[in-house]
Each structure stands twice: as structure tokens, then as C-alpha cells.
Symmetry: D2
Subunit: 347 residues, 4 copies
């Protein structure tokens, strides 16, 4: 299978390359970069030295990718919407990792991203790519939009409750995120001396992944569900932990059964809830580098609430790994193909 | 002023020593340790080498401390309640840093700590030591109980709302805590290889600081306020960030004015809310080593909620520094005496 | 191929499991643990949940492993020498990851490990397993001793000079090592609060990997070469950087050609020496999780010395990965089988 | 005493401010910044909020500082040499923290910094400011040049040997340095995701602090001593550990006596060499935030070498703290005035 990547210089692009070179069915065809045209991939992603020996192609030659089987687009939101239409025309399958095609509502897009969407008619063409929820739709899709990293951790935590209409009140979501989630941009607050050791509410209210979480939960539950999402950066490069505060209460065994029913046969979801040992509840440390999402919960028995904890590696299940999982489905491959490797521990 | 410390081998004891040696009015008299009797202080707290040259005394000779002006007790909860009564009898002033005298209700104590309180009659003798709120009571007190580190960050965030009866619904509190908050104990999950890089809900629901937060908020507001407190460890040694999700909504300027009115003249409270720059909302990185507590807030305009962010150094304003601030008040010293030094940045 | 592991509870054992489950030719047969008999592997190595579902077997049943094709022994030095003889008798191939069979000289073993070797006659039976140097011998070996993590980084840095007899004077080696190199033991100086942020000469002189480096260099050069090895722990879990100070001086191009000649066709050695970009000289950050060893050098033109820099992941090329590379050779597999995956970056 | 700072926006400037606001004899008069003129100090150094409330002045008004008692210059090398002459003319005392006035030889300056020195005649006017060595000269000086952070750690480690003419051969110095040592500059390799976890030989040979180390050692020993200095960045913000490999060998007690004789009465030098406990040899973790330099050593008995370990906080004893120590001497104050506070531990 021939695969090309547009916008391959960032961390998501690098992670796609890390995973795709290990995928038994994939041949990496073209990688495009606006700024690094003509450079070898290991000049920008030095970890790939001796692993992959190709050069970045120019955005001007993007049509060379039209004969790929699939293109991953990793350009930023606002840019992706301008590039995607010509790709679609070529007939190639597409997985877009930007925010441009995640929402169905053009008004919501405008409200949250402050950009007029150039191709609103395409919004309904894209399938929102969470294989654990949309497996069939993704399997027959040509166009998939990959969720935001906080969104996927939140949605998988809440889906069993939304689907069963167990929640209707506002959900508070408190996300703790590693630095790679905000990309490779260079600014004062990102330098090591300034960021090391910080615990920072970088978006204390109304983080942009809110509308996709709400839209998806509405689809599963049939009712409007509001989310108040607060995002914090912590002293990590990789990893997300999401704590969801839910106005629902039931026996542990019942809640456990929801997760079991929905995710019991899902290879990449691990339900973590151990009274003993070193791994009691989800913690990204135990899944770094892998495509797992770990989910667990605890009850506030006094206040009759459920606190759901979900963890993932933002560059794998939160981005590149999930996208490849979608790709596998879109091409009739085994869903886990090229993805069923263990986390790296300890790191 | 002669000061002694019981249980001086841990991090809180070490931090008291760090701060007290810099206090112009203090002479450190005796330091007691159950395990380290006879050792030099720098054998257990090597950072104090060339700074302080005394030995740990035995718990058997605790009466030698009776002629101190004040004793700080840093032994664990459950132990403190057994030691404190004889100290009280001696007439010495006491600041207890354990949980044993924080609550007024012996039933709550039993419910949360699973221990029968040996001296319930003392519970009402102790003043809960938050100088920004209880200044007068502390000033005339002989017995002060120092709040829990998460509790003080939470209470100071919520006090202006509770006092004005602006909140009545359940408050979700999501705390992110450095490793020193859980002391110097040695176990597998605490070793560097196992804990480095983790983001872990070590107490996902019903953390033990809950009842003191609720009890205090009830005192200020006159109504019952419930708290659902979730505590996470992050990749830091020092520092706490507390995110409080509150069902209250108002203009930024009004909320700002609450904080201004209550804390405008408080030297150790900084109100942080900047649209620009590298310091937009509270982050412990900007106050490590100092007695500051930084407080800010953001509004969720869609859901009409207020998210309050508070940060402190768990060993300073969350423990030893706050205790010394109380001591200053108890002895008629300037509240800031020995405490008005800047944070260390960057670290 | 049936593979068993003795002493599988530690980090080296866990890393062998991480890599072996991805190896296309391997079936993991038995894993033995002294302390964790009867427990599921994911209770001790939680990252393996949903990946590997076997239990630890007892040391008492070690003969069940005799029908494996190969056994990896990860028990500590001093213990390994007692277990290995019965394994050898069974005819199974063995890779020992302890220090017990690395040295040829029983006197040196006694001098450095302060233990009388129980089976000195076996010392010459074991091949010292560095595939880049001993490929043929390993390929025909039944017994391989895996080098120490600092030793392998040092030897690969120095081999081209030793082999060409370019060095004769004392070599200073300054190693910087992550915490996982010292295993999973629980002690005060290892807990997060005590070790985080430290830069510590944990063995400032005469580290135990010295004699194996010296013995190997003597074999390649034919002359005695002395090494003064100083080991430092730094604020990392994984990764080693070794700086070797060598009394040799030549043109960059000549030195470059030594490395090129010796390692140009070696898949796991990358020669790193770039004047520009983010990757100028070896840094473990760019190879974490992989079996690469990166080597580069700089000249001190004033003093006519060469400073050689080598980096590896102590658990992969410094332990489990290198051992599997040896296994591949011992069984006539492609040397890179199951090992040619990229590093994880950034992490 | 009126103190002004030129170039106060960086980490050294910020650290001077942190320490000077605690100094009982100092009034901070003017702080100058090229880029931040007119801004409040807490906009650039947010940790100083509520501590110091002044604005940055413009370089155009630098003469306003002429009536200060002392000016600290923290501008970069190459810039300092242009600013200093007019300051000198005004008669104000000066401590320069750049490299411009550290060397006596204008040829060496040119060779290492690749800049023609504009004011070579001033080189001999400046005293190299290491109070533990040059106390008298500094006490009567008007112009002091503050050493480089690696240089001061190296020189204090080697001084007892140089002074006693115990060393004559090349000394290898391997430095491990936190990120704050390279300042507040913004570039790709400095961002958190790229630098976190790295162990990097950022200057594997011939680091620029070499010539000042050599020049100083020559002054103490009377003979030429060559140094080969390799500098590595590690996963820390603050702290330096320097390992010096010296061709000298003697009894532990003799070497110990050298350090004792030279530093026994020095308040800021701690000699660390403990067989037991958590603090066996110098480690910056135990002195962060303080003006201590910790020095210890180990012998390589086989090779008859001494390995000297020295540690300091690069922003305190390696920069601002040492400069204030010099200031104290220059003004007849107690050498330790404003500086004798403990390290912060753990952090």
C-alpha cells in the first residue's frame, strides 16, 4: 500500500513515519513539507537515521501523491481545508489530522477556530475516526478526520455513559497534557528552562477540543451534553491523562460492565482498576509509545458521582496510531496491523 | 524565640529547618526524631551541612522541649494525638502539622482516617491556621493546626465565594501534586524509575483533605458545601496546582474584585490573570521555594461556570512556611518575618 | 523458537519481554521469578497487559525450561554462577546478562566483585557478546555473556582505535547513566523526591565495568590498555552517554574512516557527527527504545586528543536488545530480526 | 548601598535581583534592558511579582546609573567591552559577568571568542573574582570580572593541587550542566520537547571556559597547565557537576588536608566525602538555590589518579551569588552578607 504524508515535519508527521516504517503492508511514497523541501528526512527527524532514507518533497508537487493509496494530512487547521479538496478530486483516500473536518457544524467551526470554513460542503463527507465507536463507518470511508488528542481520551471515557443515556448534566473534564501535544513551535514559554517543572493551565476554560466532544456525545446519546474542558500542561513530553467528572452513580460492577460490553473485544482499550500493585488506575507512563488507551474509574460515594480516568500517548492513540488504525480498517486490513506492539517501560 | 520540632526527619521537618535558620527571631532548640536520635541533622538533611550543626534528640527526652516558646509537631496523623496532650500541659505553644487537630468533628475524623480520636476534647482548642482568613484567632491562639497542602490551596481559592455565599452546589477540585507531598517513605511505586514521567490519579475520589475543606467552607458560608476532590501526582518534586470547578458565573471584574477585597492586602497572595506574557495563570513554577500562593480564574462563558486556579509550594505555603506565618502571628511578630523572600526561578 | 527467561521481574527481564513479543520467530515459553511465582506477568510488568498473558514460574521448576531453545538469565551476579551449570548440562543455549561470565580471569572477577567464582572452568566457555565485533564467534556459540551497559558503549567507541593499535595510554571514561541501569531496587536514595534532578557520581572511580572493557580492548589490541571509569547518574530513566578521553590525534577524515570501515555495514551503529541541525553528536534522546548505538567524536586540537561520544539505551543495546541480537546470530536468523524498529521520539 | 544592573532581563540578571532584594545593605536603583525598556520587572521575571516593583530603564539612560555604588553588567560578551569603559570613567565600581574581562591575554580572547578586543588595556585592570582564592585583591578592587560557571567549579576543584604544584599533566574536565547555563535564548534545540531527557555533549572539546581555567591555574602554580574541557547538557534547569581527571595520587588523608587547609575557613565551600548516607559526593541537588560549592574526590587506586568532583548552582555560586560575594568584599561588608541561606531541598 502506497502512503504519502503532507506536512511531515512536525511531531505528528514524525510519529506517522515511526509507525509506518514498521507496518508490514505500507510503502512510504512521498512526504511533503513546506519548509524542508529537498532535505533528507533524518535532517528533520534525526531519530529516523538508518531507518528511512527519503527526502521531503515540495508542496508544489503535491499531485505526485495522487497515485498513493492514502494520504495523511498533518498540516495545521486552516491550511488543511485549502489542500484537501484537490486531493479528494484525485480519488485518493485521505485521513486528515487537523481540526478542519472534525465538526459537522460550520457555525461551531467558526465559533471555535475563528475562521470561515472554505469547504463547508465537505464537513459531512468526513467520518470522525474513532475505530472503537465508528468501526463500520470508517471501514467503508474514503475520508476520515482524526480526532483531537484530548477529545479521543475524553470521548472513549464518556461513550459508554452517553450511549446508555446515563448522563445529561454538564461534564467537567480536566486534562493533563505533555508538551508534544502542542507541536514543535518555538517560543519563549516553550523553552526548557521556562517550561520544565511547570504545572500550567494553558487553556483553563473552553479548550478547542470541546465542540468535537460535545458533537460526538450528542450523536451517541441523542441529547445535548455540555462539556467544560480545562487543559493543563505538565512536566512530560508525551502522554495525556484526562479526568472526567460525571453526574452519574451506580455500583462498581454495573459501570465496569458498561466498559466491558463496549470495549471488551477492543484490542487497544485496557480497563484498569486494581486495588493493589503499582498500576491502580490509568497512567500514561504504562502505555507510552503504544496505541493503547487505558480507562478506569472511581466513585465518589459521598456525592454520588463517577470520576473517569483515561490515559493515552497523545502522538500514538491520540494522533498517528489512531490514524493508522483507521487506515487499516479503510483498506480491509486487520485493525491491529502494525500497531500491536508493547509500550516502552520504564522511560 | 526558642523553637523545637518533633518529627524533624521528614520533608516538612527539613523545610521548617530551612526556613527557621533564616528567621531573625528564632533559635532552634531541639529537634526530635524517633529513628535518628543522636545523628547530626546534616546526616538526614544533607543540604543543611555548614548551616546548622545540631543533633536529633530522642523522643524519650521530649520534656526538654517544654521550655521552648513553641513546638512544631511534624509526626504523622494518629501519632500526633498521642504526643500533643503532654506538650499542652507544659504550657508551650504548639503548631501541629498533622491532620489530627484539623477537624472539629470527631465523627468526621473517624470516617476519613479510620482511627478513633484519643483526645476529642482538644479538637475545639485548635485554631485552623490560615492567616489570610483567621488572622485574629491565630494571633491569640496557643494551639494551631496547620492545614493540609491541597486544602489550603483549595480553601484560599474558594473562600471569597463561600464568604459571599456565591456557591452552594458541589465543587469539583482537581489537584496536581509533586512527590514531596507524600513524604519520604520508601516503596516500589515511589522509586525514580517507576514514578518519573507518570501522571497518576493517586486518589481519584474522596481525598482526605476533603473534610477540612468542607468544614472550613461551611464556617465561612454558613451553609453546607460539598466537595469532590481528586488528587493526581505529576512529574515534579515540589508544587501543587489546584483547579476548582465552581457553579458560579459573573463578570470578570466582579470576581476580580472579590479576590482584591479579600487578599489585596495579603502579602503572600498574588492574584495572577494576565492575557499576555509567560505568566498568565497560577503555576507553581513561578513560586517554588516561596511562601506565596498564587490565585487566578477563568470563566467558562458557555456553561456559566468559574474555574479557579491556585498554586503553591506544598512544603512552604502548603506546610512549613504557613506554619511559620502562624507562629509570627502567635508571637506578635510581623506576619511576614523571615518569610518574604522571592521564589527561585527558573528551577 | 522457544525462549525462557530466568529472573524476569526486573527491568532487563521486562525489556526482554517487550522485545521478544515482537520477534517473529519467538515463542515465550517460561518466565521464572524467585519472588513472583504464580503471579501474572502484568502484575509485575503492567505495561504488558493485553500483550502477554502468562504467569511467573517458580525457580524450583527450572528444569521445565530445559526443552527451550534458549534461556536468558537475568539474575544478579553471584546468583547466576550457581544456576547456569545445570542449564548448560541440559544442552540449552544460554545468554547470561549478569556479570558472572563476562571476564576470562577468575582473579579479576574476585578482585572486582569480591566473590569467589564457583565455576571458573566455565569462564572460557562463554563468548563475550558484542555482535559488531565478535559476530562469527557468537554465531557458533552456545553460551554467550552479555556485556555491561557502560561496557558496550565504551568498547564500541574504542574498538576501532584498539584494533588499529592507535591507543596505549590510560583512557578516561566518563559515563552518564539513567536510573533504570541500576535496576528496580527500593532504597531511600532511589525514591523520586531524592533522585529527581540529581547529577551524581555514584561510582566516581573504578566502576565494575572497568575490567571487561580492559580485557576486551587487550584482546583487540594485543597490548594492555588501562581504563579509568567514572559513572554518574543523571535525571533520566533510560539512556547512557559515554565520553571517552583518548590520547590519540589525527585528521577528522582518518578517524571517520576507522569508524566507517568497522561499522559501515553494521545496522545498529550510527556514526553521528553533524556540524548543523539538532543532532550534532550522539545523545540517547535520539535512540530511546531502539537497538542503536550512536557514536561520534570531536578533536581537542590544542591538546592533540580525541574525545569519543557514544550513546545507547541501556535496556536495549545495553542489555535486552543486544542479547536478542546475539540470539539471532546463534540461531542463524537475520541479525536484525525483530530489532529493526525506530527509536521513539520525542519522549 | 545603591546597586544597578545592566542587562537585567536574562537569567543571571533575574538571579541577581532574587538575591539582592534579600540583601540587607542593598537598594536596587536601576535595571537596564535593551529590549524591555519601560516594562515592569515582573513582566519579564514574573517570580518577582509582589517582591520588586520597578521598571526596566533604557540603555540610552545608562548614565543615570553612574551615581550607583556598584553596577553589575550582565550583557553578553562582545557587548560588555563596549559599555564598560564609560562606566569606568564615571568612577562607579563594576562587576562584569560576561567573558570580556576574564582573560589577561588579548590573543587568547581573540582565539577563543573570535572577536578583536576593543579595550585590551583594561584587561589587567579587572580582578578575576573568586573570593576563596583572591580575597584580598577583590577587597581592594573597583573592577571585578566574574568567572564562568564551569570555570569556577573547575578552578576551585583544582586550586589546591595547582598551588602545591602537584599537577603538571593535562587535566580532563567533564562538565554536566543544566539548561539555565546557556541563557534564555529561543531556538529549536532548546524547546522542552527537544531538550527534555537529553544527555548531550554540546561542546565536546575546547569549551570557552578553558582559557580562564588555564590562565588561573598557571597563576597559582607558576607553570603551564593544560586543560581539555568537555561540556554536556543534562536534564536539569539548574546545577553543574564537574568531574576533573587529574594525574596525581596520594593518600586520602593528604588530599583531604589540602582541601581542609585551603577551604576549611571558607563558608561557601563544603567538602563532601561520606562513605555512607544519601550524600556521598558532591551533587548539585543538595545545594540548589544556595551559594555553596561542594567539593569531593575519589581515588583511582589502580591507575594512580585522582578524580575530583565539584558541584554548584550555576546561577548562584556560578554567577550572581559569587558576584554578590565579591561585592561584599569590595565594600568591606561581611563576605557572607545576604548569602548565607540554605539550599532548597528537595526540588
Amino acid at each position: 500500500m502506497k502512503v504519502s504524508i503532507i506536512g511531515a515535519s512536525g511531531y505528528t508527521g514524525g510519529e506517522l513515519l515511526r509507525l509506518l516504517v514498521q507496518h508490514p503492508e505500507v510503502e512510504i511514497k512521498y512526504i511533503f513539507s513546506r519548509k524542508n523541501e529537498g532535505k533528507y528526512v533524518h535532517e528533520i527527524h534525526p531519530f529516523l537515521k538508518n531507518i528511512l532514507n527519503i527526502k521531503f518533497a515540495s508542496f508544489n508537487n503535491i499531485e505526485s501523491a495522487f497515485n498513493s493509496d492514502i494520504i495523511f494530512s498533518c498540516v495545521p487547521h486552516g491550511v488543511s481545508m485549502n489542500i484537501i479538496p484537490s486531493l479528494i478530486e484525485s480519488g485518493v483516500k485521505i485521513i486528515d489530522l487537523s481540526a478542519d473536518f472534525r465538526l459537522k457544524s460550520v457555525e461551531e467551526y467558526k465559533a471555535w477556530y475563528n475562521i470561515d470554513h472554505k469547504n463547508p460542503e465537505l464537513l459531512n463527507e468526513f467520518i470522525y475516526g474513532i475505530p472503537e465507536i465508528n468501526k463500520e463507518k470508517i471501514s467503508s470511508a474514503s475520508l476520515v478526520s482524526n480526532p483531537g488528542c484530548i477529545a479521543i481520551a475524553s470521548i472513549l471515557a464518556l461513550y459508554p455513559f452517553a450511549k446508555r443515556r446515563k448522563i445529561s448534566d454538564l461534564i467537567f473534564i480536566d486534562a493533563k497534557v505533555g508538551s508534544s501535544g502542542s507541536g514543535r513551535s518555538i517560543k519563549l514559554s516553550s523553552i526548557f528552562s521556562e517550561r520544565f517543572g511547570s504545572i500550567r493551565a494553558y487553556k483553563a476554560a473552553m479548550h478547542r477540543h470541546t465542540p468535537e466532544i460535545e458533537e460526538q456525545l450528542r450523536m451517541y446519546s441523542g441529547v445535548n451534553l455540555n462539556v467544560s474542558l480545562s487543559a493543563h500542561s505538565v512536566n512530560n513530553v508525551r502522554g495525556i491523562l484526562v479526568t472526567s467528572y460525571v453526574n452519574y452513580y451506580d455500583d462498581v460492577s454495573n459501570i465496569w460492565s458498561y466498559f466491558r460490553e463496549d470495549y471488551g473485544s477492543e484490542k487497544f482499550v485496557r480497563i484498569i482498576r486494581n486495588p493493589r500493585g503499582i498500576y491502580k488506575l490509568p497512567d500514561p507512563k504504562f502505555l507510552i509509545g503504544s496505541n493503547f488507551v487505558d480507562i478506569g474509574f472511581e466513585l465518589d460515594n459521598r456525592n454520588k458521582k463517577t470520576i473517569i480516568i483515561s490515559a493515552l500517548d497523545n502522538l500514538v492513540k491520540g494522533a498517528a496510531g489512531n490514524a493508522i488504525q483507521c487506515m487499516n480498517l479503510m483498506f480491509g486490513l486487520k485493525e491491529t496491523e502494525g500497531l500491536l506492539f508493547p509500550p516502552i517501560y520504564p522511560v
